[in-house]
Structures are given as structure tokens and as C-alpha cells.
């Protein structure tokens, strides 16, 4: 069977599976829709959380980012896993014991304030839409590369699938669909990783392969070889990194705290039967995530090494097929600078910006690039970082079914995260804004209908953002984490661990944290992007890491204000006492 037929088959089968699950697990009540009835097994929930959390960015982009940034890529590895320790120890069991439906629910109730609830809803919606636009774009890209359809068609197909299981099934449908998606995506990630690790090092386990010797009899370790090769070409050593220690520290912390503050992750811990299950579930989630996250740095390093060794100083006419395939997709470009027909890969940007392809072909048959050349470097190649995972099976000459599997896995990763985000948006609108703020007398049936309508509207907005991606999408990913770190996380933690924390302190803290973080990022990303470099950052902290300072400000302001204002009322103190004790988390419906 041809690779293309296999791709259609694998993607078609996985979609049929998701839709089948969605029909089987339809939501019948608001509790089903928001928290899957609260009866999800902790292992199952861990798997669903892993799929929910690992997006197109984790599956497609992360290994590529690590491949090109070496040690600096560690911020993502530690940041996106370390957050689960914070979740398990500081948030999950208490929020489960609290036992309501959404994150703004907790903040609104704990701080006895409609304002606090609305501030939380605003943070949540902003964070979630930022994220979801990227997911839908990811769906479009995977579709267009593997199914050979325009990106827009891909986005619409993705919207249709998500619509079926998020709108119909709510959290209940999404949970069980995500379990299937986790299985697809992890299998799809591990199979090529095993192959590549085996080809490069002779050890099929990527986590061990990265620390092994290259299997060419030289006795050189993979990382040593990579360091030496890159230094020869004018790059820094792979294991050294270029960011300042303080910046690496801040970005890692911002990503950790941001992960623990992301509403679509937190809400998953509302779905298990007991408070103790929420702790266990966070552990399972991290285990399932760690499988991919400990593999990614190996995939990144092997891919970089393979790339340099097969492409550098190779004649364009001898380039492997995958090279020209990705060139046709605008993600690889070569400009001939010295007329020798060989492709030189060196440090520096070959030309200004991403490639703009013109008419016709160059002397060796390459696509003409119209960008202005950069004369400071001999580098002749442009490589988009996102191709690393997708191109890996082709780079290593793996069989067609592996390529088909990776296509299905990439779609599973993007769709599962999109569905999780759609749900938190729709429940924030129908539950927090409609039921708890504007229309408290709405019936359960009416609320469920509103939740479905909100989810449908969110799908449409997400699809629109995927088809017409506004320039800011890529720019504001730091916003999602920074804002979650600077606003939601401190408010929730203080709500649990400080009985003295009151409405005035929490709202002031959230607002200050938000405004500070927002202003700093917006200044460097939009107002004056030309100054977005180490020399202009405060203490050398990049916009990606500034959420940490926002978080510290939030804590300080909240403590200061709450110490000079009236303490929280007695029933709120009793609520805090109650959520600290696991016993009596409330009955859960059986599944």
C-alpha cells in the first residue's frame, strides 16, 4: 500500500474511533458536561490530562526547539513537567475537595466576590483562546502536509471532528476520547524515536541512547559528537546554551507555575471521585507526560545530528527526497552563495526572515528565494524548526506506516488539547457568567444547552483564528503562561494555604500581577519590538520569564493589602478548613 493510502487509513480509523467514543459517552447533565460526572478513574484521568496537556506544540515543535537550542531547550522540559509537582502538592486535592465545576468557581466562592469571579473568567478566556488558535493552526498544517489538502480545509475538518465530541460529549466525551488520543499520540511518538535511537546509537531506548556512543565504531558519545560538529560550523556547543542563568531560571519557573495555573489542566482534577484520587491522578498524568518529555530531547539531538551529517556539504541534486518535499512546503530553503552546488549549513541566518519563494529555479533546480541575503554568514540553508518530528521518519528512511502513524499522532495531540480548551471556555461562559453572574435562576437543562451553544461558538472562533491566524498568535504564547502564573496560580494557592487572605488582597494581587505581566510582554512584543533583547530587558529577564516577577508582585501586594483590611467572613474560613481535610469529598456518579 502506498504511504498516502496508509495515511488516509490511519487518520480515518483514529477519527472513527474518537467519534464512536463520543457517541458512547454523551453528556446527560451539567455535571457530566463540566466534570464528567466526577467519577473518572485516576489512571484514566491521568492519561486524559496528558493528552489534554500535550498539544501540537509538544508533539510537533518541542523536539525541534530543543534540537536547535540545545541546553536552552531544558526550560521547556523542566518547566512543563515540574508544574505537575506543584499541581499535585498545592492544588489538585484541595480543588477536588472544593468540588465545584470551574476555576473561576473556586476563586469567586473563596473570595466571596463576583468581581474576583469575573476577573478569573477574563484571564481564563484570554489564556485559552491564545492557546487554541495555535492548536487549530497545527491541525491545518498536519492535514496539509500529510493529506495534501489546503490548510483551510484541514482546519475545517479539524473543527468538525472537535465539534462532534466536545459539543455532544462535554467533559465526559472529551475525557474518554482523550484517552484514545493519548494512546495514538504516544505510540506515534515512540515508534520513530526507537528506530532513530537504534540507528544512531544501537540502543533502542532514546533516554539511554542520548547518553550512549555513536554506532559508527568511533567510540564518541552522541553529545560529544554533536558539540564538536556544531562548534566546527560556527554554532555554540549543544550542551552549553546561550541564555543567561537568571533568564533560564525565570522562564523555567514561569512555565512551571503557569502549567499549574492553566485552567484546562486544573479542571481535569475536578473529575476524579476523591481528593486523594486527585493526587494520584496528577502523578499518573506526569508519568504519561514524562514518557514523551524524556524522549523529546533524544529525538531533538538525533535529528540535529542526522540533519547536519546528511545535508551539510551535500550537492543539492543528491539531496534526499524529504528535503525537497519540505522545500515544496516552504519549510526548507537553500540559496546558493558561492556557486559550488554544495549546501553549506553554518551558524547565522542565511537571509532575512522566513523564505519568500519567487518564480523559477536556480542552477541546481532549487526553488528561487527572493529574500535579501545575509552577507555576514556562509550559511545557505533555512530550516523551519517544526519539521523535525514530522520529517524524522523520512530522514531515517522509515516505512510508510510509521509516517502514517506520526500524522495520526500529530492530529491526536492537536485535537485533544483543542477540545479541552473549548470545554473550559464554554463552562466559564455558561456556568460562571450565565448561571453564577447574570441568570442564577436558569434551569439545569437551559444551562446544559447554553454550555453546548458556548462550545459551538468557541469552535467557530477557534476555527476562524486557525484559518486567519492573527500575527499575535505566535507572539503571545508567553502571555498564556505568564498570565496564568501571575494571576490564577497565586490566588488559588493563597486561597487554600492562607485563611487570612481576603477578597481585597486577592483581587488587588491578581490585577497587579496581570497588569504588570501584560504591560511588560505587550511592550516588548508589540509597542517596541525592536528593543526586545537582553540589553533592554529588566535584569535580563525575557518576556517569557517575566510572569515570575508578576507572580511575586501578586503575592506581595495580596499579603500587604489583606493585612490592613478586614479578614474573610466566618463561613469562608470554614470553607478553607473543609477543603484542607480530604474526608467527605462527596459522592461521585459511577461510570
Amino acid at each position: 500500500m502506498s504511504t498516502q493510502t496508509l495515511i488516509y487509513l490511519f487518520v480515518g480509523l483514529s477519527f472513527a474511533l474518537y467519534i464512536g467514543i463520543a457517541i458512547w459517552s454523551r453528556a446527560g447533565s451539567t455535571s457530566d458536561f463540566y466534570v464528567a460526572g466526577g467519577g473518572v478513574n485516576p489512571v484514566v484521568n491521568g492519561m486524559a490530562t496528558a493528552a489534554d496537556w500535550m498539544s501540537a506544540a509538544s508533539f510537533i515543535s518541542m523536539a525541534g526547539i530543543i534540537a536547535f537550542s540545545g541546553y536552552d531547550g531544558s526550560v521547556y522540559l523542566m518547566g512543563w513537567t515540574g508544574g505537575y509537582v506543584l499541581l499535585a502538592l498545592l492544588l489538585a486535592p484541595y480543588l477536588r475537595k472544593f468540588g465545584q465545576f470551574t476555576v473561576p468557581d473556586f476563586i469567586g466562592t473563596r473570595y466571596y466576590s463576583r468581581t474576583a469571579r469575573v476577573v478569573a473568567v477574563i484571564c481564563l478566556i484570554f489564556i485559552s483562546f491564545t492557546y487554541i488558535a495555535g492548536q487549530m493552526r497545527g491541525v491545518g498544517i498536519v492535514f496539509s502536509r500529510f493529506l495534501d489538502v489546503p490548510i483551510d480545509t484541514g482546519v475545517i475538518a479539524g473543527m468538525a471532528i472537535v465539534f462532534v465530541y466536545a459539543v455532544l460529549g462535554g467533559m465526559k466525551g472529551v475525557t474518554y476520547t482523550q484517552v484514545a488520543q493519548y494512546c495514538v499520540l504516544i505510540f506515534a511518538y515512540m515508534v520513530p524515536a526507537f528506530f532513530i535511537s537504534f540507528l544512531v546509537t544501537g540502543n533502542p531506548v532514546p533516554q539511554l541512547g542520548l547518553g550512549s556512543t555513536v554506532a559508527d565504531g568511533s567510540g564518541q558519545y552522541v553529545l560529544e559528537r554533536l558539540d564538536a560538529t556544531l562548534v566546527d560550523l560556527g554554532f555554540g556547543p549543544y550542551t552549553a546554551g546561550t541564555k543567561s542563568t537568571l533568564d533560564v531560571f525565570c522562564i523555567t519557573l514561569a512555565l512551571m507555575v503557569g502549567t499549574a495555573g492553566l485552567p484546562h489542566v486544573i479542571v481535569r482534577f475536578f473529575t476524579v471521585p476523591k481528593a486523594s484520587d486527585a493526587r494520584r491522578s496528577a502523578g499518573w498524568a506526569l508519568l504519561f507526560i514524562a514518557l514523551l518529555y524524556t524522549t523529546a530531547p533524544a529525538v531533538g539531538a538525533f535529528a540535529r545530528l542526522n540533519f547536519v551529517e546528511t545535508i551539510n556539504e551535500t550537492e543539492y541534486t543528491d539531496a534526499p527526497e524529504w528535503f525537497t518535499n519540505w522545500e515544496d512546503n516552504d519549510l526548507i530553503a537553500w540559496v546558493e552563495k558561492d556557486g559550488d552546488g554544495l549546501m553549506q549549513y553554518r551558524a547565522g541566518e542565511a537571509f532575512d526572515g522566513p523564505p519568500v519563494f519567487g518564480e523559477g529555479q536556480g542552477a541546481s533546480g532549487e526553488r528561487n528565494v527572493t529574500n535579501r541575503w545575509n552577507d555576514d554568514t556562509d550559511n545557505e540553508l533555512y530550516v523551519d524548526r517544526d519539521i523535525m518530528v514530522l520529517a524524522n521518519p523520512e530522514i531515517a528512511n522509515l516505512p510508510g506506516w510509521v509516517i502514517a502513524l506520526v500524522a495520526a499522532g500529530g492530529l491526536a495531540a492537536a485535537l485533544s488539547t483543542a477540545a479541552g480548551l473549548l470545554l473550559v471556555i464554554s463552562s466559564a461562559v455558561s456556568h460562571d457568567l450565565l448561571k453564577k453572574t447574570w441568570r442564577p435562576d436558569i434551569s439545569e437543562k437551559g444551562e446544559l444547552l447554553a454550555a453546548r451553544l458556548a462550545a459551538s461558538a468557541a469552535v467557530l472562533v477557534a476555527g476562524y483564528l486557525g484559518i486567519y491566524p492573527p500575527g499575535w498568535v505566535a507572539e503571545v504564547v508567553a502571555f498564556a503562561f505568564g498570565l496564568a502564573a501571575a494571576s490564577l496560580f497565586p490566588a488559588i494557592v493563597m486561597g487554600i494555604f492562607s485563611k487570612r487572605m481576603n477578597r481585597e488582597g486577592a483581587i488587588a494581587g491578581m490585577v497587579i500581577g496581570l497588569i504588570f505581566t501584560f504591560t511588560y510582554i505587550a511592550y516588548f512584543k508589540f509597542v517596541d519590538p525592536g528593543t526586545n533583547d537582553v540589553a533592554h530587558w529588566w535584569f535580563g529577564i525575557s518576556p517569557e520569564g517575566i510572569g515570575v516577577i508578576g507572580m511575586v508582585l501578586n503575592f506581595l501586594v495580596a499579603v500587604a493589602i489583606s493585612s490592613v483590611t478586614k479578614g474573610p467572613p466566618l463561613d469562608v474560613r470554614a470553607l478553607v478548613d473543609a477543603i484542607r481535610i480530604p474526608r467527605g469529598a462527596g459522592a461521585a456518579s459511577e461510570h
Binding site: I66, Y71, G73, S74, L77, M78, T81, G82, Y84, V85, A88, L89, L90, P93, Q207, L210, G211, S212, T213, Y221, V222, L223, E224, T239, T245, V248, F249, T252, L253, M256, K274, A275, S276, R279, R280, A282, G283, L286, L287, A290, Y293, T294, P297, D577, R580, I581, P582, R583, G584, A585
Partner: protein, 101 residues
């Protein structure tokens, strides 16, 4: 029966304290455990993986410089162990203070 087990028996055999004290003691035990685990969390990631990286990189395990290993692999394994220990120890603490769910 060794000494620690005898001690535990005694603690478990103690008559139930008043609800208020019991909840406060449970919370203190919880905070202590969380404090210790977060200290380790900080030490392996921010300590070994970032602040002390250059120093640790002089040691190699196989092909891994040690600091680089902590940053890209080791800290993730430790995070997993931390949550596992927390789940186990909290179960014990809850039973000891009779607040388990």
C-alpha cells in the same frame, strides 16, 4: 517489632483528640511533608539543572554531562518520584489523623 513500629502503634492507639486539634495537627504534618518535597523539587531542577550546572557538568555519567542530564532528564524522573512519595505519605498521614476519604 522495632522501635519505630512500636512508636507508630502507640500513636495509632492514642485516643482520638478533639476535632480542632486533630485537624490542626494533620495540617502541620501535611505542610511539613510538602515543604520537604518542594525543597527537593527546587534542588534538582533549579539547583542541579540550572544554578550548579556548570559545576556538575565536569562530572559525566556515560555520555551525559551531569548538569545537562539533570536539566533534560534527571529532574523529570525525580519529579515523578516526588509525587509518588507524596501520594504514599499523605495516605499514611490521613489514616493517622483519621481524615482519609
Amino acid at each position: 517489632m522495632d522501635e519505630t513500629e512500636q512508636h507508630r502503634e502507640r500513636v495509632e492507639a492514642e485516643p482520638e483528640r478533639s476535632g480542632e486539634d486533630n485537624a490542626a495537627a494533620y495540617w502541620r504534618a501535611n505542610l511539613r511533608l510538602v515543604g520537604i518535597l518542594l525543597a527537593i523539587w527546587f534542588a534538582v531542577s533549579f539547583g542541579a539543572g540550572i544554578l550548579l550546572r556548570d559545576w556538575l557538568d565536569r562530572v559525566h555519567i556515560g555520555g551525559y554531562p551531569l548538569g545537562f542530564w539533570f536539566a533534560q532528564q534527571g529532574s523529570i524522573y525525580v519529579f515523578l518520584i516526588l509525587i509518588a512519595v507524596y501520594v504514599r505519605q499523605m495516605r499514611r498521614i490521613e489514616r493517622r489523623f483519621d481524615v482519609d476519604d
